[in-house]
Amino acid sequence: MTRRLVVHFVGFFALWAATAAPLHAADRIKIGFLSTLSGPNAAIGADIRDGFNLALKLAGGKVGGLPAEVVIGDDQFNPDTGKQLADRMLKRDRVDLLTGMVFSNIMLAVVPAVFEQKVFYVSPNAAPSPLAGKQCNPLFFVASWPNDAYHEAAGQYATTKGFKNAYLIAPNYQAGKDSLAGFKRFYQGKVVDEVYTKLGQLDYAAEIAQIRAAKPEALYAFLPGGMGINFIKQFVAAGMSKDIQLIVPGFGSDQDIIRAVGEPMLGLFDTAHWSYDLDNDANRRFVAEFEKEYKRIPSVFAAQGYDTALLIDSAVRKVKGNLDNKDALRAAFRSADFKSVRGAFKFNRNQYPIQDYYLRVVAKDAQGRIVNKKLGTVFTNHGDAYVQDCAMK
């Protein structure tokens, strides 16, 4: 009796495993796309995915000439889930490259296993300082910006604008730490207080009361996704926006937040490496196609997803689809031979980009839609502060 049960169980398991374990083909490219696709921050992951998929669609579903298969996973904003999904993508689906992650804490938990398997990771968003400096890795490429960059630009802007003191707030994780470190690097006024909130926190009543009591001239808040949406709403609801100038990095005021908050954001200043009105062919095409396909204005995250796909495409094309020669593929990535929507694109020797950063303002465009408009340039050809600690050539 039990013997039959055991045999049945084993048989079922074998049958299922055989159908679930896919075969690896050499004439296509398999890309693992692991991102935050649910929860209050899902809009960011969705934007990156949509930008990425758009680039693939415009290339006929191919990357570098090879038919592409994208394996999508949702880390649910949870490092454990991210690790398990990445493990599956690496060992069971045997992806050729991995990309997609939004948050630095999840990415830092996942990438050790990726590098262990000698698989490339191209980041469309998170780019924390440890991987720019001491822990730089030849398999890690950043298609977005170094974590500190937007915040450095914002700090520079705050100094230029003459704010005598500033209150800083960010979530308590690597990117949050990077953000305020970046801001302080270029801000020369007085830092009234430096507060870290719980990652994913949604109710900021206690923090807002502390800010009110501190009476700063400016408030620099790095709160992406759902955190930003709630903070801005609550900040405005508490009547603070008229007395304190709120400055945010570009991802604290982009389309995902505009869609949820709306008019109260007009007049908000932010810094970013890309703006939807950037004047180059690649960007014009990207914005037009994105609006046609998805019926919404692209955010900086969508632009990054799109650029990531273009970067991967250029590298795979350069090695003529031969993904097994890791050194050649790495060199192909480093040459970054593609037309980015941000204009010129160049890698630093730690494989993080060197690029320009702009000041933007939340305003209405000609059609009355709320967008981030480019106001001016804060930094030109700006790298990052950690490259000197990186041993790579």
Binding site: S38, V195, Y196, A205, A209, R212, A213, V236, A237, A238
Partner: protein, 305 residues
């Protein structure tokens, strides 16, 4: 430390505590009268929030949505009680814990299937701005309304429980179930109604907190555990205890988020201070809970004399 800061933080703690009270009240009644550990209580809170979001979208009115959500969640709660939970009253606590834990899983995925992982819910536009309470303190009008609603419910519950016949039956059931049955109370109906009522209270909290937090799958888990802490501290079966417990926990949470980190930042790097502050506050709450369980297991205001 300014008076305005203290007042504002006190209001914050009060607001959070009152919403926690709404959850704890229903939970303590169910636990006290039916002697059932109901882990699915947080799921009713979640369902209430999702229903409110849908009704707000359909009717365009926030307050109408809250009322409809209360009714809808009460129906869901009573249906749950009649179909599944009724079978658990006679079972041991392990079975109750596991069955209601299973219901959490089913509810989370069920909500995800029907609505998706998250839906937006905004406060009524009239309440999007501040109200000047004192010169220098413009407090969010929406939060003031939450406080008002919480206090109104607390008063209404007090009146219901102490001044009406139903309330008397509920208190009788809480303090001595066998006697109440012997006196002819239709226990089955009473249980179902109490459960539905608790569910409606959850819906108010879910709908009101929705615009401040986020209406998302799994939103019940973290607040559920706090609700249990509240009813243990306050006393299982006691609504008065639930109120006191909830205010204590609400205040402690605010202190932990604001004052303790500010204090710690004097001698710890900011990241460490910011992580340690809320952790310390939570640890203190649980230490309090453990201490009460150890020395006064019936809580601060025991229902059973």
């Amino acid at each position: 430390m300014s008076g305005i800061l203290l007042l504002e933080q006190a209001l914050n703690g009060l607001q959070f505590g009152l919403m926690l009270f709404l959850l704890a009240a229903g939970l303590t009644l169910v636990f006290g009268i039916m002697d059932m550990i109901n882990l699915a209580h947080g799921s009713l809170y979640m369902v209430g929030a999702f229903l409110a979001a849908t009704f707000a979208e359909l009717t365009g009115s926030f307050w109408l949505a809250v009322v409809l959500a209360m009714a809808g969640t009460a129906v869901v709660g009573m249906a749950l009680e009649i179909s599944v939970l009724r079978r658990l009253y006679a079972r041991d606590h392990l079975a109750q814990v596991l069955a209601t834990f299973a219901i959490i899983l089913i509810a989370n995925e069920g909500v995800r299937l029907i609505w998706g992982p998250q839906v937006p819910l905004s406060a009524p536009p009239a309440l999007a701005g501040p109200v000047q309470i004192l010169p220098g303190l413009d407090y969010s009008s929406y939060r003031l309304v939450i406080i008002a609603v919480g206090l109104a419910v607390a008063v209404a519950l007090y009146v219901l429980v102490t001044r009406t016949k139903t309330g008397m039956l509920v208190r009788a059931g809480a303090s001595n179930r066998e006697m109440a049955t012997a006196m002819g109370v239709d226990i089955k109906l009473l249980f179902t109604l109490v459960f539905g009522f608790g569910a409606a209270l959850c819906a108010i909290a879910g709908a009101m907190l929705g615009p401040i937090l986020a209406v998302q799958v799994g939103m019940g888990e973290s607040i559920l555990i706090l609700a249990f802490v509240v009813i243990v501290i306050g006393g299982i079966g006691s609504i008065r205890g639930a109120l006191v417990g909830a205010l204590v926990v609400g205040m402690a949470d605010t202190i932990g988020r604001a004052f303790i980190p500010a204090l710690l930042r004097e001698f710890l790097p900011p990241q460490f201070a910011s992580a340690l502050g809320p952790a310390l506050a939570s640890i203190l709450i649980y230490v309090l809970m453990a201490a009460i369980l150890f020395w006064k297991p019936q809580g601060l205001f025991p229902a059973r004399g």
